[in-house]
Point group: D2
Chain length 308, copies 4
Amino acid sequence: MSLPPEFHEIAKRVNNWGRWGPDDEIGTLNHITGETVRQAAGHIRSGRRVPLALPLRQDGVQTGVIPGRVNPLHTMVQINQEIFGPGTVACSDDAVTFGLQAATHWDALTHVSHSGKIYNGRPAATITPHGGAEFSGIDKPGHVVSRGVLLDIARAKGLDRLEGGHAVTPEDLAEAEEFAGVTVRAGDIVLVRTGQMQVYLAGDKHGYGYPSPGLSVRTPEWFHARDVAAVANDTLTFEIFPPEIEDLWLPVHALDLVEMGMLQGQNWNLEDLSTACAEASRYAFLLSAMPEPFVGATGTPVAPVAIL
Amino acid sequence: MSLPPEFHEIAKRVNNWGRWGPDDEIGTLNHITGETVRQAAGHIRSGRRVPLALPLRQDGVQTGVIPGRVNPLHTMVQINQEIFGPGTVACSDDAVTFGLQAATHWDALTHVSHSGKIYNGRPAATITPHGGAEFSGIDKPGHVVSRGVLLDIARAKGLDRLEGGHAVTPEDLAEAEEFAGVTVRAGDIVLVRTGQMQVYLAGDKHGYGYPSPGLSVRTPEWFHARDVAAVANDTLTFEIFPPEIEDLWLPVHALDLVEMGMLQGQNWNLEDLSTACAEASRYAFLLSAMPEPFVGATGTPVAPVAIL
Amino acid sequence: MSLPPEFHEIAKRVNNWGRWGPDDEIGTLNHITGETVRQAAGHIRSGRRVPLALPLRQDGVQTGVIPGRVNPLHTMVQINQEIFGPGTVACSDDAVTFGLQAATHWDALTHVSHSGKIYNGRPAATITPHGGAEFSGIDKPGHVVSRGVLLDIARAKGLDRLEGGHAVTPEDLAEAEEFAGVTVRAGDIVLVRTGQMQVYLAGDKHGYGYPSPGLSVRTPEWFHARDVAAVANDTLTFEIFPPEIEDLWLPVHALDLVEMGMLQGQNWNLEDLSTACAEASRYAFLLSAMPEPFVGATGTPVAPVAIL
Amino acid sequence: MSLPPEFHEIAKRVNNWGRWGPDDEIGTLNHITGETVRQAAGHIRSGRRVPLALPLRQDGVQTGVIPGRVNPLHTMVQINQEIFGPGTVACSDDAVTFGLQAATHWDALTHVSHSGKIYNGRPAATITPHGGAEFSGIDKPGHVVSRGVLLDIARAKGLDRLEGGHAVTPEDLAEAEEFAGVTVRAGDIVLVRTGQMQVYLAGDKHGYGYPSPGLSVRTPEWFHARDVAAVANDTLTFEIFPPEIEDLWLPVHALDLVEMGMLQGQNWNLEDLSTACAEASRYAFLLSAMPEPFVGATGTPVAPVAIL
C-alpha cells in the first residue's frame, strides 16, 4: 500500500519544504512576526481570558485504543511533609505520568511522517528512542502566540454540533469566516469548532472519538493559501474520522505537519470560547498557546488562553 | 519546634483569609480583572515574545536532593509507526514522567501548609493521596494572564548576578522598580531577577541550588501592600537559601502561599527577558503563564511568555 | 456505616496480633521455617517448573475501574544505541510505569486497613505518601518460598470453572484437599483455583473482574486453623465479588491481611499448573514467589514458579 | 570504528546461533532440564533461603550517568481509602516508574546488539519502540530456576573484596570453583562474587560503579565450555570497567548475550549468600530467579532467592 495520487497532488500544492531555508524546524510559525502580535494585541478589548485546556486527569479523553497514549496518572509524592522537622513549614509535591498527546495538546511537526520523511524533507529516522525528534521537536517553536480566530462551524450553521460524519470543508471554513466577520490572514492561529467536545463533556468518551467530524483533506490548501500559522480544533482526531477516502488514513496530518509544516492542536475545549465570542460578537483575539518545551518530543500538553 | 513569633507577626499583616469569601481558592489572582489585562495589552509595542521556560529534559535542574521531585523522563512509545499498514502515514507518540515542581513551574497555593492549614484557613488534611488538593489545586486558577513587571535586581545594581547569600529585600525591590521606571500595582505579576539562573546555565546544578540568593522574609509585606497577583523568580528555592533566620525554613513560601494566597513561580529563566527589557528600556509587558490544569495538583510546569 | 458484628466475631477468632511479638511485620510467613522448605524440596520429582505470572503489558487485566491501578506502560529509552561511538556494542534499555497491584501480585499486609488499624494493631496512619508503609511493606518478607498446594476447586467439582457468583467455602476447600490427596499444614502456601482466569484469557476483561467467584468470608478461619502462610488465587478480587453479605465489602481482605497478617495473591494464572498437577497426580510442590522488594510498597508484582 | 579481531575470534568460539534451531529465543537456558532442577533440589539441606535483591527505592544504585535508567519512583495512589464508604475496609495502592535495568536485574539477550545483530543472528532492528524486543524479550524465558553455584572470588582469595581494577579471569573462576568444592556443570547458574557490593552498601554509589572489578573478556569461553545457563554478579557493569582492551567497550555483554545467548544478572547482593555458604561450607543450592515477564522488555528486575 502507498499513498494515493490525489494525496500527492495536494501535497505538491501545499508543500513548504525549503521555503524558510534548509535549516528551518518550525514551518508556518514563521508567518508570525512581531507585527502580527502587535496587531493582535489590538483585539484585546475587554481583557476577558478564556482558557481552552481540558482538565488533566486520569479520567481524560483517552480510552486505551491508542497504545501508550495514557491519560495522566497523578500521584502525590509528599503531602504536608515537615521536611525540616516537626512544627516546620510542610510541603506537598506531585509526580505525573502521561502521554504527551493524551489531552489538550499540540502535535509537533514530527508527530507524523510519510514515505520516510518529516517536515522540510528530513529523514523520519532522525526521530530516535534516545532523544526523540532531533529536528522539529516541540521544544523548537519557543513561542506560539498570535492572533487567534475562531471559525465556529457549528454556530455558523445554527447547529449545536456537527454530525459524526461531517467533513469540515473549505466552504464550511469560508462560511464561518463570513459569520465571524473576520478575514483570516497570514500568521493567524485558526480554531475550528465542530462542537464535538460536547460529546466528551456529556460523558461519552467513545462517541467523542468515533465517528468524529473533523477537517477535510481539502482544508490544507485553504490554510496554505492564507498562510495560517497553526490550526486547532475540538476533536480527538483533528480530521474527519473515519476518513473521507477509503484506506487513506490521516491525510490531513500528513499534509499539515509533514508537507506544510503547520502545528495542529487537538482536544481543545472551544465551548466557552464559542459563547464568549458570540456574546462579544468578536471572533478574533490574542491567543497564547505556549508548548511545554519537552526536548525532542513530538507533542505537548498545552494550556491555551484566548484574550478578548 | 514551632514557627517563631516574628513569623506570626508578619503572617497577621499579610493574611488574606476570607478576603474573597470563605469559598475562595485562588487568592491574589482575584486582583487580576479584565481591566488589568486590557491595560496590560497596551504594553505590547513591538510584539516581541520572550519565552521563560527551561527545556524539559532529564538533565534538568533537579539533583536528587528533594525526594520524588524527578526530572522529566521522556520516552517514545511509538516512532514512525505505520499503524494503518505498510506505506501509510506513520505516527510518533511520547510519554513522560516527572515531578510537577521539577522544572519551570508554579507552586499551587497548596504546595505548602503550616500549623495544619492551607490558604483560606482550610485544613491541610484536605490534600490526600487519592485526589491531591481538594481545594486550591493548580487546576483552579484557570487563567494566569496579566501585566508582568520585571524587577531586575541584578541589573539595577550593575551586577551580573547576586551573590549566593543575598536576600532580596523590599529596598532591593524598590530600587529595581525605580530602575524599571514602572510602578508595581494591583494585579501585576512580578518577575524578580537575581541572575542565579546563570549558574545553572553554566552547568553547575549544585551551585545553582545552594547557596542561593532569593526573596527575603520581609518581601511578602511589600507584595501585599501593592496587591500583587503572583511572583516568580529565577532560582530553585524562590526564597534565600539557607534562610535568613536560623531554623526558620521556607517562611516566604508559608507567607506567600498560605497566608496571602499568592502563586509563586520558580526556575524561570529571566536572562533573555532581562536583555529584551534593557534593549527596549521597558520593563512592563503582557505576561501569559497558564498553569497546566492537573486536577488536584500542588504545582505545574508552566511555559510563560512575556509579550513586549 | 461500620463493619457488622459477624465480621468482628470472625475477626476475633482469626486475629494474630501479638502472636509473633509486637515488632512483627510479616504475620503468617512466620509459619515458614527452614524445615518447611527442606521438606517442600522433597516434592520436587520431575523438576518441571510452571510459571504463574501473567505477561506484564499495557493490555493487562485492569480496565480503569480502580483509579490509579494502571496496566504497565512499557517504553524503550534506548534502542541499539552505540553509546561508546559508531561500530561499538549497542545497548537497549527500557522504563516502565504501572500499578503495583495491577497484574499478578502479592498484596502486602498493608494493602488494606480497617477501623484505623493495620496488621499487628499498628495505626493505619503509619502509611504515608512520603515513604509508603513504614511497617509491613512488601519489602519486609524478604523471601516467600515454601511448600505450595494447589486446591483446584473447579477440577475437584468436574467443572471448567466456577460460576461468577460462586463463593468458595471451607467445604469446597476440604473437597479439593481430598481430591488433591494432600493435607494442608503449617507454612503451606495455598493456591486456590476457580478457573476464572479463563475468562480473561478468552479476552473478556470486564467479565473476568465482575461478577467473580472467589473466597468466602468463612475461609479465613479454615486457613487460620491450618496455620497457612499465604493464599493466592486466579481472580481479580480474590474474594467473591460482589460480596456475600450486602454492604460488607472486602471482608476477606480485612480478615486475611489485617487480622491474620496473611499475604494474599491475585491474578495468578493457575491454568497450566492445573494441567501439570493433574498430569502428575500431585498437588504439592516447591513454590517460589519472591516479592520485588519495593520499599514501603503495599503490593508488588510477582513471578511465581511452582516446581514439581 | 568497529570491533577488533580479538573480539571476533572469541565470538566464533562461543557462538551458539542455530544451536537450538533458528526459532530459539532463550539460548543457554536450554541447558536447564527437568533433571537439572530435580538434582538441584538435592542441594536443599537446611531450607535456608537467602534473598539476593537490593531494595527497590529512589535512592538506588543509579547515579544518573546512564540516561533514562532511573531509580524507582514509588508513589502511593491511594492510602487507607474507604472506597465503599465511610467505615468500610480501606485500601492502599501504589504506582512505580523505573528503569528495568536500574536495580537487581536480568539483562535480556536483547539488552545489547552488535554489528546489527542480536542473539541467534536476528536483526537488531526487531527491537522497536512500539513493542520492544519482538524476539528474545525478557518475557520469553518463562522460568529461570536451576542449580546455583556461588563462585566467591573474593573469599577464595582471602579478600573482603576485589580491587576496582581487577578483571575476574578464568583462572580466578577455577580457583573459586576449587575453593567451593563444586564442579560447575551444564545448566548451572553461576553467581560470581567480587565483593564490590560492599562499596554501594557503604554509601559510595560512584565508587561502586567506577572503577569496578568484573568479568574478563576471557570468561565467556569458560562459561561456554561448561554449558552454563546464566551468570550474575554483584557489580553495576558486570564486566570489568573500564575495559581491559582500550576502546573495546562491553565485550563481555556482546559475547554473553549476543553470541552465546546467555542471560546476565547485575547488582545482585551476594554478601549474605557469601556468609551463608561459608557457614554451611556448601556453595551449591537451588536458585530461583524468575524474570518479571514484561512483554518485549530487554531487562527486568528480579528478586532471586538461593535455597540451601
